[in-house]
Each structure stands twice: as structure tokens, then as C-alpha cells.
């Protein structure tokens, strides 16, 4: 977060996502704030249900009802976009923010050729002629590494393998050069051998096209290789956000620490993996104070009653009372 006069590309402020249910309102994402600079790759990690995907969907305005943004603001290049009318937001989608979903096998409409899906997207957002859009589609397919794009463009999704389809999906997300790509677990559904290729491709293309990436994943390895910064989410809240080196090598929040400990390392093959005791609470059962307190190895009295806010520590921001400098710690830890 270098200080500059320009607003960051994406700015999320105090985002709160709620699901009204018969038994009261569930808060799925609570008071989440972060920003993404131009060209930056922000990794967002956390367990299933931590609110990563919901955060991504709310930025692009595709939260599925009954989920709704109940508070906070989202700015794209200084313009507020969370309250845009539907038609205005539609024009933002695809043109300014692209999205890549998890499962390439189901992301493409089976009844249209990949070329017509590309051309359709390009022509929705630009004034390009049919033939110019067709040429651009061929170029894009070549760019995402699909061999003989001139032939493949007329083929249908079922004629592509999973990895190839994800390449097409990436081409679709990037086809009108959006400034931000939200990639929601783009490699989870793929073979391990293909995952690295797709991540490399995403990284390279976004750099070439000058697009920033919000990379949602639970694969810390992918984050370590790809991201500039990492945001760690837990139970709908941000636990820690900071430069990737800091977060991975020097995790401060006890939850991040636990996450890092649970990754196998080749160097210590015999060591038993560390595991965080317990499971993430359900949305109906989030405890008072810090949401992580029932599982935290360093919990103390204050964690049970007061909720920690994000506070700067070194170059990161942590929401944990262990790093609260305004007040002497009471009680013990460990």
C-alpha cells in the first residue's frame, strides 16, 4: 500500500453481507475492509464458508438472493459501485471487472461454440464489428495457449479438456481488458498437473493486460507463488492482511499461524502436520469477541468479550488482541 494520491483500484470498506433467514439474520461477511492496487495480485485464503467467495461475488454485484450487502462500500478506481443500478453494474461486469469461476466444465454454455461466446462478450462491451471481434477472439485463444485457435474457435465446450476450458474461461474474463479479475478458486476443479499451468497463465496474462487479480483460493502454495499480498479470512472476518512474505514466513495471527503449520513441507517429511483444533463456527454460532477464540491456542480473557479490529503491525494488519499496543495485556497466554 504505497502512499499515492490516486485512489487504489479497488477499495472495500467495512463490507457486511447478510442472509435474512426465518430464524434471524445471518452475517456471512462482517466488517471486511481491504484494497487492491493496480496490477496487484491479492490472495484471499480461508476455509470453506469463511466468506471469500461471497466477498468476491458482492464486488462484482452477483450476490445471490437472499444474500445482500447490508453495509459498507465498494469503490472501483474511486467510483462507488456497490449501489449502482442494475444496468450500470452490468456494464461494469466484464468490461471493468472480469471473473473466473471454479469449475471450467460448467462455466461455458454447452450449446454455443467458444468463438460465439467470446464474440458475444466482446461485442456486448465494444463497438467492434463481427469480423474484428472474431479476429480478436482468435488472438485471445492463441494468447491463452490454445493450439490452432482458428480451428478451435468454432468448436464447442465439450470438445475441450478441463484445463483447455479454463483457458477459454480466462480468455472470456480478459477479452475486453478489465482492470480487475476476480478468480474464485480457478484451479480447484482441475488436475494437479494442470493447476500450475493455469495459475502461471493467469498471472502472465493479467500482467500483460495490466489487470489486478483477487485470487480466492485455499491453496497456500498458489498464494505463495502468485500473490503480492494475502488476506486471511475467518468466519466472515479478516484475520490478517499483509505482504505475502510476511504472512507466510512470519504469520502473526494465531489462525494464520495454524494455517501455515498445516501445509506439508518437503524438507520436514517426517514431521507431523500441525492441525488447528476444532472447526470454524457456523454462522449461527459465531462466539462473542474474537471469532477464533474457541480454537485459539493463545486465547485470553479479552478475546472472549471484545472483538479485535484490524490494526497495523509491521507492514501487515492483524485483528488480534495479542498485537494491541494501546493496552497492557491482562491474563496469560500459551
Amino acid at each position: 500500500m504505497a502512499a499515492s494520491t490516486q485512489p487504489p483500484l479497488l477499495e472495500v470498506k467495512n463490507l457486511r453481507i447478510e442472509f435474512p433467514t426465518r430464524r434471524g439474520t445471518l452475517v456471512a461477511v462482517d466488517d471486511v475492509s481491504f484494497d487492491i492496487a493496480e496490477g496487484e495480485v491479492l490472495g484471499v485464503v480461508g476455509e470453506s464458508g469463511a466468506g471469500k467467495s461471497l466477498t468476491g461475488a458482492s464486488i462484482i454485484g452477483l450476490l445471490e438472493p437472499p444474500g445482500r450487502i447490508a453495509g459498507g462500500e465498494v469503490y472501483l478506481a474511486g467510483r462507488r459501485i456497490d449501489n449502482l443500478p442494475y444496468e450500470k453494474m452490468r456494464q461494469v461486469r466484464g468490461r471493468e471487472i472480469g471473473m473466473v469461476f471454479q469449475d471450467p466444465l460448467t462455466s461455458l454454455n454447452p450449446l454455443y461454440s467458444v468463438g460465439s461466446q467470446l464474440v458475444e462478450t466482446i461485442r456486448t462491451h465494444t463497438d467492434m464489428s463481427e469480423s474484428a471481434a472474431q479476429q480478436r477472439a482468435i488472438d485471445l485463444l492463441g494468447e491463452v495457449g490454445i493450439p490452432s485457435p482458428k480451428i478451435r474457435i468454432n468448436q464447442y465446450p465439450h470438445q475441450f479438456s478441463g484445463g483447455m476450458r479454463q483457458r477459454v474461461v480466462i480468455a472470456l474474463a480478459l477479452c475486453v481488458n478489465p482492470k480487475l479479475i476476480i478468480a474464485d478458486e480457478p484451479t480447484t476443479a482441475l488436475d494437479v498437473s494442470i493447476q500450475a499451468q493455469i495459475i502461471d497463465l493467469l498471472k502472465r496474462l493479467c500482467r500483460d493486460h495490466g489487470a489486478a487479480v483477487m485470487l480466492i483460493t485455499h491453496d497456500m502454495g498458489v498464494i505463495a507463488e502468485t500473490a503480492n499480498r494475502v488476506a486471511v479470512m475467518y468466519a466472515g472476518r479478516l484475520a490478517e492482511i499483509g505482504p505475502v512474505g510476511q504472512v507466510i514466513k512470519n504469520a502473526k495471527h494465531p489462525y494464520t499461524h495454524g494455517l501455515m503449520g498445516s501445509i506439508p513441507k518437503l524438507a520436514h517429511a517426517t514431521e507431523r502436520l500441525v492441525q488447528i483444533e476444532g472447526t470454524m463456527p457456523r454462522l449461527t454460532e459465531i462466539p462473542n469477541g474474537c471469532a477464533f477464540n474457541p480454537r485459539c491456542p493463545k486465547v485470553f480473557a479479552r478475546c472472549m468479550v471484545e472483538r479485535p479490529d484490524l490494526t497495523p503491525v509491521d507492514s501487515s494488519q492483524i485483528s488480534c488482541w495479542l498485537y494491541d499496543k494501546t493496552m497492557e495485556r491482562t491474563g496469560s497466554h500459551g
Binding site: R95, L105, S107, L108, L111, A173
Partner: protein
């Protein structure tokens, strides 16, 4: 593609052969037609002469061979009741039924599909709920009740529409149509509506269910994330994906429209094939019955073949020669 068509054609021939066999056996089991045809005072010689003329003295396989040979050439023998060739009777009646079925099928499609799309897209609007409630009536009321109620309302009380028969017929040489005059339309509108109502509600509910299903899929979400216009998403991406099941059901339904037009034709005294068939049953007019059976089977076979070909047009997964490394 060609192999597929050939294979389907072969299947169709087998089906038609079996149906021909069944309709042929009717001749063997349903009474002696000669008694119905000749008067009380006919002599044995006259009976035998007729028997000989009708070919009833040949062995059964020979009769069947004759039957198939004639049927292939479009000859189904003489009607016992009318003493006229059955194909002539059918040719007279077929335009009426075909027009009735075509008009009601078009009504069902052109009204049912948009209603289904609307109720799928606006699930909770009052109009959708209204459509769904009315469609329950369409599904649960028997056809003849609807027909009679319509006659009562529009024919008797309001006096807007004629209550029976076919009018305003224009002879085009091979085909007599009632679709070219206002009078013809005033006659066809009630029976066609009656016949269409069930199909319409069925199609509406099917399209609605399919739309709800398709709108939840990932490719629709991705289409939204690409910023496509709603019209493109709803009608281009979603509706096209609902078409395969709709085509299937519509094909089956056109078949049953033909078959069930019997009831509607009776209620409205519509001079179609259904009426001919019913009269055929009353008089044990077996050539009429058996040829009706064969003709209906032929229609079903043709419709199914068309449906299969339409699948090819709609779904590229069926027409590709080599299958990629999918699931």
C-alpha cells in the same frame, strides 16, 4: 449423421411393420364383415362373391402380404360401411384434423413458451402466480368439459362463435382449408383452444421448471459475470438450454393431439379423422379402424424422427464426431 438417419429409418420401418401386423390381426378377430355389409336377404352366392372380392378367402400370410403391399401404396381397402376406398375417406377428413392440430399446437407453443419464460424469470410476481393457478385448471379439467363450457359461454350465452362444424372451407385442389376465411377461423378457434389448453399449460410448466433449473447453472452465472445483457442471457443462453426437453415433450404432445382430437372433434362435430374413426368403431368398419391405427403410428414415427433431428440442430454435443476429454 447419415448413419444415424439410416438407423432411425430402419427402426421406423420395424415399428411400422409391427403396427401393420397388429392392425391386420383386427381383421381376423373382430367379427365377420360380410354380415355387416350385405343385407338380410343376401344369398349365399352373393356373400361368397363379396367374400372373394374382399380377398377374405386367401390364406392369412397371403392376406397380410396383400395388406402390406397395398398399405405401402396408400391403399387400405374398401370401407365396409361406406363402400368407398378408405384412403379417399381419410383424404377427405385429414385436412380438417391436420389444421385443427396445427392451429392448437401453434397456440400451445406460441403462448405456452413465453408464459413459461415469464413465470420462470419472475417467479414471485402476481401475474406468474395467476398463470400457475389458471394452468392448474387447464391441466385438471378434462378436454370435453372445457369444450362444452366454451360452447355454453361463447356459443350459447354470448353467441359470438359457431358451436359446431367446419365452415368457410376453400378448396385448394388437393387440400381443403378453412384457414383462409374469417368464417373458417371462427369455426376453428374454439375446438383449437379446447385442444390446446392442456398442451399449453403443460408446455408452460415445463418451460418454467427448465428455466428455473437452467438459471441456476454456472454458465448463466458466468454469462452474468461477463456483463451480457439480460435479454441475451434469458433468451439466448437460458431458453436455448431448455429447448431439448421442450422439443421432446412437444413431439409426443403433437402425437397425442392427433390421437386425442377424437374427443374434441366429437364435442364440436368437427369433420375430421377422429370422427371418422369413432363412426368406424360403431359400425365395426375394420378397414377404417386399422388404417387409422396405421396412420397414427406413421405420424408418431415421423414426429419422433423430426424430434431426433431437431436435437441435432439444437445440441452440438450430439453432432460432434469425436468427443473431447470431457467428464
Amino acid at each position: 449423421m447419415l448413419a444415424f438417419i439410416v438407423q432411425r429409418l430402419f427402426q421406423a420401418i420395424v415399428v411400422m411393420f409391427v403396427v401393420a401386423l397388429i392392425s391386420f390381426t383386427m381383421f381376423q378377430f373382430v367379427g365377420d364383415p360380410v354380415n355387416n355389409m350385405v343385407g338380410q336377404e343376401a344369398t349365399t352366392e352373393q356373400r361368397d362373391a363379396l367374400r372373394e372380392r374382399l380377398g377374405l378367402n386367401d390364406t392369412i400370410p397371403v392376406q397380410f402380404a396383400h395388406y402390406v403391399m397395398n398399405a405401402v401404396q396408400g391403399e387400405f381397402g374398401l370401407s365396409y360401411r361406406m363402400g368407398k376406398p378408405v384412403q379417399e375417406l381419410i383424404a377427405e377428413r385429414m385436412p380438417a384434423t391436420m389444421e385443427l392440430v396445427a392451429v392448437s399446437a401453434l397456440m400451445a407453443l406460441l403462448i405456452g413458451v413465453p408464459m413459461g419464460v415469464y413465470t420462470g424469470l419472475h417467479r414471485n410476481s402476481w401475474l406468474s402466480r395467476g398463470f400457475l393457478t389458471i394452468s392448474l385448471v387447464g391441466i385438471s379439467l378434462p378436454t370435453f368439459v372445457i369444450g362444452i363450457l366454451m360452447i355454453l359461454a361463447f356459443g350459447v350465452w354470448l353467441g359470438w362463435l359457431p358451436t359446431f362444424g367446419r365452415g368457410g372451407v376453400v378448396d385448394l385442389g388437393v387440400w381443403k382449408t378453412s384457414l383462409m376465411t374469417a368464417q373458417g377461423w371462427s369455426h376453428i378457434i374454439m375446438p383449437a383452444t379446447t385442444l390446446a389448453l392442456f398442451q399449453l399449460t403443460l408446455i408452460m410448466r415445463l418451460v418454467r421448471a427448465e428455466m428455473l433449473e437452467v438459471l441456476r447453472t454456472d454458465y448463466i452465472k458466468f454469462a452474468r459475470a461477463r456483463g451480457l445483457r439480460d435479454r441475451a442471457i434469458n433468451y439466448g443462453h437460458a431458453l436455448k438450454n431448455t429447448l431439448v426437453p421442450v422439443i421432446t415433450i412437444m413431439g409426443l404432445q403433437i402425437g397425442s393431439l392427433l390421437a386425442f382430437s377424437i374427443i374434441t372433434e366429437t364435442v364440436f362435430a368437427w369433420p375430421g379423422m377422429g370422427l371418422l374413426f369413432l363412426q368406424g368403431i360403431q359400425f365395426v368398419d375394420i378397414p377404417v379402424m386399422s388404417s387409422y391405427l396405421v396412420l397414427m403410428a406413421l405420424f408418431f414415427v415421423i414426429i419422433n424422427l423430426t424430434v431426433d433431428l431437431l436435437y441435432y440442430a439444437v445440441d452440438p454435443r450430439l453432432r460432434s464426431e469425436h468427443v473431447g476429454a470431457g467428464h
